[in-house]
Each structure stands twice: as C-alpha cells, then as structure tokens.
C-alpha cells in the first residue's frame, strides 16, 4: 500500500476512536463538575457533589473511612440498585447456563427432526421486540403474584438471555469432539468425573463468554424490569432512566459511570475471546 494512504488511514482510525469515546469523556467531565453549562468546554467548577448526592461519597468533612462505611451501610438507593442488578444478573446467568447446557449439547452434536424449528423458536426472542410479549405477560404475572417480586424479574430476564446462551453454547458444541469423553470413559472415569475433567475444560472458554453476555443482557434490561418489577425491584437501568429524565446531568453521568463500569471490565477480559476465532461470535453469526 501507498505509504501516504496508509498514514491517512491510521489517522482516520485515531479520529474515529476519538469520536467514539467523546460520550465517555462527557460522562466523566459531567460527573465531576458543577454547573457545567454551554458554552464552557472545561467546567469552571469541579465538584464531587453528584457523588455526594448519590450518597456514594460522604459530605466534605466526613470523608474518613468511618464516614464512607457509615454512608454505604445506610444502604443508599444506588448501592441498593447496584446490588439488585448484580444479584439478578448473576442468578439469571447461572440458571440460564445450567438450563442451556444440555439443550446446546443436543443441538450442537445431534441431528434430528424439527431441529431447525426448535432453533427458530429459541432465537425468536432476539427478533421479535420485547414490548410484544411483556405487555401481555404483565397482567398474568400480576395475578400470579410474580409482579413486583425478585423471582418474577429473574424469570422474565431469562427470555432475552436464553437465545444468546443456547446459541453461543450450541456453537461451542458444534466444534466439540465427544470422542474425548468416550476416551475418558474407557480409561475408567465415571460420568461426573468425565464432565468435570473433560467436558467442562473443553467448553469453559466459550461458556465464560456466553455467561458474560448473558449477564450483560440482564444488566442492561430496562423495559422488562420496569414492567414486571412494578417499581419494587429497583435496578441500575431504572435508576439511570429516571435520573436521565430528572434533568441533572452530573447525577446522570455519575450513575451512568457506575452502570457502565462492569460492562467495560467484561469487555476488557473477553476481548481476546471475542475478537478471535471463537465459538461465541460464530454463535452470534448463526442467528
């Protein structure tokens, strides 16, 4: 390639990267400033007020270890929502993996009648909008007493997560050779040991990616939690949404930073799985 062209190319990439992280920069400035209005580019007043109002950092003068502990143990709304989001996300992820594992194995390794139909049914929640099922589900959940409960929210989160987990893991099993298991069995390993010593290590990398994606889908869920949680189950996205419409950019930015932190962390740890040639992305491609 022509050298000048190559240079232009690289600069274009840098520019693209800069544009892509502009919102992130805006989040950080907003979260640590006060009255950052047009046309200031650099805020005149730097401040932790947003974090103080979210009760994540104590008021000035109380910023000792005890101050922080007192504040955090008083269970402020953000920490409560954070814990709810984490608990629901982890719970739903584990359950979905356990449920999807046998199904993915069957779908990935065996051929049978109606397999295409079954896969089609499984992926349909990724195509059809959530609003189409959750509005109808709402009334049923209320009369069953699931509405407003942790259980109900977890249950409804399974719907958008299931297709991703099943597909990703089907992709893994499609490239998996069950003869390894047969070999282990002939060498004297029982079923349980075979699973833990042979199957699990082989599918673990893909499973980790599936789990992280499942967690992220649950973590970002707004509409389903809002309707089924009936306000009783407060999660971070609900908090972000309501803060975003309450008109304080500093607060919105601060909560958003907390909200995106795990996402960035997950990307950081999975980037090598995801960008490489892995079952995870091929799973997405198969949808």
């Amino acid at each position: 390639m022509n050298n000048n062209l190559k240079k232009i190319n690289v600069y274009a990439i840098y520019l693209g990267a800069l544009i892509l992280i502009l919102p992130l920069i805006a989040f950080f400035i907003n979260a640590f400033s006060f009255r950052w209005f047009y046309p200031q580019i650099i805020p005149k007043e730097l401040s932790l007020q947003a974090w103080v109002r979210l009760k994540l950092i104590p008021k000035p003068g109380q910023r000792s270890i005890e101050g922080f502990l007192d504040l955090w143990t008083s269970n402020p709304a953000v920490i409560k929502a954070l814990m709810n989001s984490l608990t629901i996300g982890i719970l739903v992820t584990i359950v979905s993996i356990i449920i999807a594992l046998p199904a993915a194995r069957v779908l990935g390794l065996l051929n049978f009648r109606f397999k295409k139909l079954i896969i089609f049914i499984m992926v349909s929640p990724t195509i059809l909008p959530p609003i189409a099922f959750v509005l109808g589900l709402n009334i049923n959940f209320i009369s069953l007493g699931f509405s407003g409960s942790f259980f109900g929210v977890c249950l409804v989160h399974l719907v958008p997560i299931m297709p991703y987990v099943v597909l990703t893991m089907t992709g893994i099993f499609a490239n998996y050779n069950p003869d390894f298991e047969h070999q282990a069995r002939t060498l004297g390993a029982n079923k349980t040991r075979t699973f833990f010593l042979i199957t699990l290590p082989a599918i673990a990398p893909g499973m980790v990616v599936a789990a992280l994606f499942a967690f992220l889908v649950s973590w970002s869920q707004y509409l389903l939690t809002f309707l089924i949680g009936a306000g009783k189950v407060m999660t971070l996205p609900l908090l972000v949404f309501s803060t975003a419409s309450s008109g304080n950019p500093a607060l919105t930015a601060a909560i958003s930073i907390i909200f995106i932190f795990p996402a960035i962390l997950i990307l950081f740890f999975t980037s090598k799985f995801v960008s490489g040639e892995s079952g995870a992305t091929s799973g997405f491609g198969k949808i």
């Binding site: 709402n138 306000g231 419409s245 309450s246 304080n248």
Partner: protein, 414 residues
Amino acid sequence: MKLKIIIFTIISLLFSKLVTAETAPGFSSWDEVVKAADGGQVNVYMWGGSDAINGFVDDFYGVPLKEKYNITLNRVPLKGTVDAVNQVLSEKEAGVTGDGGSIDLIWINGENFWTLKQANLLYGPFAAGLPNSEFVAWDNPAVNLDFGRPVDGMESPWSSAQFHFMYDSARSNYDDMPRSYAELSDWISSNPGRFTYIRPGKGGFVGTRFVKQIFFELSGGQEQWVGPFNQDLYDKWAPKVWELLNSWENDLWRGGETYPKDNAEMHSLFANGEVDLDFTQSPRGAGPTNTAGTTPPTSRAFAFYENMIGDFNYWAIPYNAPNKAAALVYANLVLEPELQAAQVQPANGFCCGWGISTAKVTDAAGKAAIADAQNNLGDAAEDQNILAKALVSDIAAEYQDLIEADWEANVLLK
C-alpha cells in the same frame, strides 16, 4: 435529639387519645398504627423527575422513618404519577386485594387522584386520623377540594406550589420581563427562538398549567372557570387559545417543531442558554434549581400579575397497599412543622411550599423553624406579594385531559 423524640411521642400519644374517633380504617388507635408499622418497609411511588425532591425525601423522611419508627423507605421514582395509577388499575384488573399490592403511597393530585377515588381504589378516609392533621387548613377550599373535587379525607396534603417563571439575571433584566400573556406574545416576537413551553401531556402538567392560564387571561379571569366542568365555556375559548399558540410558533425554539417533554428538559434548555425563560413551581423561585446546579446561579424568578395557578399536592394510599400502617406514619411525618419548614428552606432543595397552615402551629420549636424558613426566602424568589396577588386555584380535572388532547391535535399535529 432524645428530647425531641420524647416530646414527639408525648404529642402523638396525646393526639391518639384526642382523635380516637377519627383513626384510619382498620386501626383503633395511632399507637396501634405505629406498632404495626414497626420494622416494615414503605413503598413510596412518586414522580422522580426532580432530583432535588428525590434527595429531599431520602434525606428528610428516610432517616427519621428509620430512626424513629424503624421503617425502611423505598422511594420508587416514576416518569409520571399516572404510572402508579396504572399499576393500581392493573392490580385491580388482576384481582389483587387485601395487602397484596405493591404501592403504599402515591404522591398525587388532580386527575390521577380523581381516577383512583372514583374507582374506589383508595384506602381511607384516613387524613383526619393523622395526629398532624391538626395543622392542616381543612376548612380552606384550596385544601379540601383538589382540582375542584372533594378530597373527603382520601388523601393528605404534603405541600403547595404556584406556577411562575424564571429568567437569568446575567442575560435579561427583571424590568423587561413580561407580566401577562399579551406581553409575553410581544416578548416572543421580539426574541425569536428564545422561548418554548413544556408540552401539555404526560409528565408535562406544568405545560398544561401554562396553557390553562391562557384560557383565564383570554376569557377575562379565572372566576368563571371555578366549579364543575363546562364544555360550552371551553369550546368558546379553546379556538382562540390555539390561535394564539399557533401565532407564536415560528418564533418559538426550533420553530415550534418540538417542545420539551418536562420541566427537567426545560431547565436544561434554559441553563445551556438555548432559551431565555423557564418555568418554576416553587415559591422560592429559582432557589431550588440554583442550589442543585441545574440552572445558572444567577437565575431569578418573576410572575405575571394575574392568573398564576397554585395548588396543593397530597399523599394517597391505594386500597391494596401492603403496609398501610407505615403509609399512615409517613403521611403523618411529612406534616411535622419542622419538616414542613425544612421543605421550604431553599438550601434543602425541595421546590414546593407549605402543606400546613403555619398559623396553626403552636409549639416553640415548630414556630421558630417556620419563622426561620420564612425569613430565608433567598434572592432567587419573586416578591411574595406579587405571587399572592396573582394566585388562582386550579380547575376541574376534565379540562386537563381535554387541553392535552386538543393541544396535540390543534398545535402539535396541526
């Protein structure tokens, strides 16, 4: 602190004795209410569009609820109060009764209250059974009527508000501000692109109020609008109102192509210099938003000389509230004179006014707190006399629905 608690318990004990006849349904005494509420959680569903109010509720109610009554406050922010109404309706539809619901309290007034009250979906009457009910001016029609409809003890007041405007003293002069809709029309045409109003509709009740006041001014006063809904009266004036609003259109922000959805969006436009006027509901004018940092510190308030709607807002308890005792404790707590004083203090960030009649407070601590609050209006407030003179009450709830639907058809979609 301990002394306060003791005094408080004594007062509440006294009252529980005095008003036994009027305790809330299902409880024989206030003592029983407090006892039943102990250790529970109260689910408070309220419009969450102002982080100042959200913070105030968490700080000033959440802490004493926990410390004095061992009640955990679960504040649920809503995009609009109608979401909570809708939830109660859904629960009714699904046959959830007893204490199987999810909402203990709704911050409510006007049409939403009327919807629930008419459908028999509220618990009560309970308001008079609250010990602090003695501070409420129940004889005042502005309190015992909500948008012209009888309250009947099915909701208990929290605070009051009055519509007026904000400007930025760094950008404009107080003397140049319009003082009526006629003057506002002129102001808009000489400042093109610098004004907008909140869309009347869900979450935009302040905008509806802005439009309602035009009806009052064009028709020559608010008096004829008081009382039951009058379709003929509305039909007579509505076309003229739409005509006026449409005549502004080209000189509005973005040429009237779109409007801010709620006060938060309006504040942001104002703070960033996209428009020059903003709305406020607070007797303290620009004080609350200045403190919160959502408007520039140089923001100030002004009011028209007439037709500025003011009203009370309330707490209501749904028929299937899971913890009615805690809801009662909460509704009572917010009427504490000292907390009422706190909600008026500009520094605390709450944007509304008194829910009680300050004259009825007799104890020294309460009186001192009230006096302090009244002397501490801040320089961001409009002259209280101008506000008082311009004050008119809100009108029948049917108008609100009609104005919102017709505005959409005649102004937005025209």
